[in-house]
Amino acid sequence: MAIKTYRDALREAMREEMLRDAMVFIMGEDVGVYGGIFGVTAGLRDEFGEGRVKDTPISEAAIAGAATGAAMTGMRPIAEIMFVDFTTIAMDQLVNQAAKWHYMSGGRIKVPLVLRTTTGIGRRTAAQHSQSLEAWHAHVPGLKVVMPSTPYDAKGLLKSAIRDDNPVVFIEHKMLYNEKGEVPEGEYLVPLGKADIKREGSDCTIVATSLMVRRALAAAEALAGEGIDIELVDPRTIRPLDIETICTSVSKTHRLIIVHEACGFCGVGAEIATEVMEQAFFELDAPVVRVTGKEAPIPFSPSLEDYVVPSVEEIAAAVRCLVKGGE
């Protein structure tokens, strides 16, 4: 298997789907000549032409809305919104239009739309470029929400998202673009709605998303040296959520820590914790623990930025506390 970056894996997914299906196209700010501000669409305009890799004006509502209108009438757009922070401008189109037309039409209209965007901290771009808002999208029936953490998942999930007949919010983490991992040569799909066990273990389950999967993995390695054996579950898709895999793991380890970068209050972690409580309450030896972004906007200064989201050490400390407290 070839080793590829997350960025290249995403590009491959789009390229393959564009070759496979003439209805698939890309639109967004600076996706063309510039190749996307994070380089994800680099080269695609040269290969497919301006007609299928469309630079747009800075009009997030129109990007999401026009992509929705195109999807309703036979195309399969991949729309890019540079930062999830700017999906705030596109929420009417995404939530009142894209997410609802299938339902409002009594099932007669389909909206096969992928809205790609980037999330998270790490680039010291402060409060308006670093948020994590997946809980908003996940709160909306009619949307699917995907957050890949590895190149393999990124490619396989993006291909599935493009083929899905529903609007999918596809959230990439800016600090993962350069991460490398194995990506098979031939075609493969990763189904939406299936969690992946990134590490098997017996003492404690960690559910982590996006960048936090890597941090949790690092914490798990460190803890292994201390004799604590972590099982790490990556839901990959936030909606639909594969709660079954999570509960199965909890039934094995009896302890659960949820790690995400978004603020805790009304975040996805609360949903996961609650569902586990609903479905596996008596399997829990201790309350579920959340390790999440702190309740503040993302500050600019590097040490502050690093402070407000979970670190490897913070995750490890939470595990130690839970595992020892539970013994």
Partner: protein, 323 residues
């Protein structure tokens, strides 16, 4: 442009009549409590939808608004399915899940009414992009009100459409009000069509109560769009005879004067057109016959709607996701 055939003129008349009769029936059934939710009626504005939609081919597309019954009928919508939908019935266009503000018939090119003011403008733009990319030869018409022209979605969409020369006609139904707010109190311009210049597209203002004037202007714009010359902003000045929605007392008399209402009623698009048709050789009997047929269709629609079942509760959780 060739002159209109009498057949076409009668078709336009029939469609306006159907809209009027449909809406007047809604007044009735709404008062009876048969139609839940909101009813934003199109009475007085019929010439816009009809003038525009009769300039379209069957495969062409429209997007519509909260005040969408007229657009739907003009594009060929089935009044039975519309009425059933408004009654919340399982046989309605959206299986009772959409209601008045969300009727769509994608096969007929009715991409959908919209409860969000301005919400349909990006959708129309995207549908036009789709037509352009699929090389389908379709033209898209996007209906919206004067009030909607102040929403950001209008601006972003028209800019994109002009830039990409999309086959779309933006039809502003300027009825002088966004709910209670008169145009002079929501924008410092008189003609919405002047906004076209801000995007580099032609802007045209016509008498929206003159169905043939609307039709003529629409044909120019539709032809332009179909020939790849890009979008047009077509403003039709008109007036709603009733309140913002059924329940807005005294037909909106709180924010507009009786005189104003009466003066516009004089300009009723139907009355005016009847006179023209009669002068053009149509007989009174022909018109009466048409009226009767239309009325029968509307009564049949109400019967159909009444006789139809409500959706089963399971429908509430179906169609959230496709596939």
């Amino acid at each position: 442009m060739e002159a209109l055939t009498m057949e076409k003129r009668l078709k336009m008349y029939r469609l306006m009549l159907t809209i009027r009769a449909f809406e007047e029936k809604i007044v009735e059934v709404y008062a009876q409590g048969l139609m839940p939710g909101l009813a934003h009626l199109y009475v007085g504005e019929e010439a816009v939808a009809v003038g525009v939609c009769t300039a379209l081919e069957p495969a062409d597309l429209i997007t519509s608004t909260h005040r969408g019954h007229g657009h739907c009928i003009a594009k060929g919508g089935d009044v039975k399915l519309m009425m059933a939908e408004m009654f919340g019935k399982d046989t309605g266009y959206c299986r009772g899940k959409g209601g008045s503000m969300h009727i769509s018939d994608i096969e007929l090119g009715i991409v959908g009414a919209n409860g969000v003011v301005g919400g349909g403008i990006p959708l129309a733009t995207g549908a036009a992009l789709s037509a352009q990319m699929r090389n389908s030869g379709q033209v898209v018409v996007c209906f919206f009100g004067d009030g909607a022209s102040n929403n950001g979605s209008f601006h972003e969409s028209l800019n994109l459409a002009a830039l990409w020369r999309l086959p779309v006609v933006y039809v502003c139904e300027n009825n002088g009000y966004g709910i209670s707010v008169a145009q002079s109190r929501h924008q410092a311009i008189k003609d919405v069509a002047v906004r076209a210049a801000a995007y580099g597209m032609p802007g045209v203002t016509v008498d929206g109560n003159d169905v043939e004037a609307v039709h003529a202007a629409a044909r120019v714009a539709v032809d332009r769009a179909r020939q790849g010359e890009g979008p047009t902003l077509l403003e039709c000045k008109t007036y709603r005879f009733r309140g913002h929605h059924e329940g807005d007392p005294n037909r909106g008399n709180r924010y507009r004067s009786r005189q104003e209402i009466v003066a516009w009623e004089e300009k009723c698009p139907l009355k005016g057109y009847e006179a023209k048709l009669l002068a053009g050789g149509v007989t009174w009997e022909q018109l009466e016959e048409l009226k009767e047929k239309v009325q029968q269709a509307i009564e049949a629609a109400v019967q159909y709607a009444n006789a139809s079942p409500f959706p089963p509760l399971t429908a509430a959780l179906a169609d959230v996701y496709a596939g």
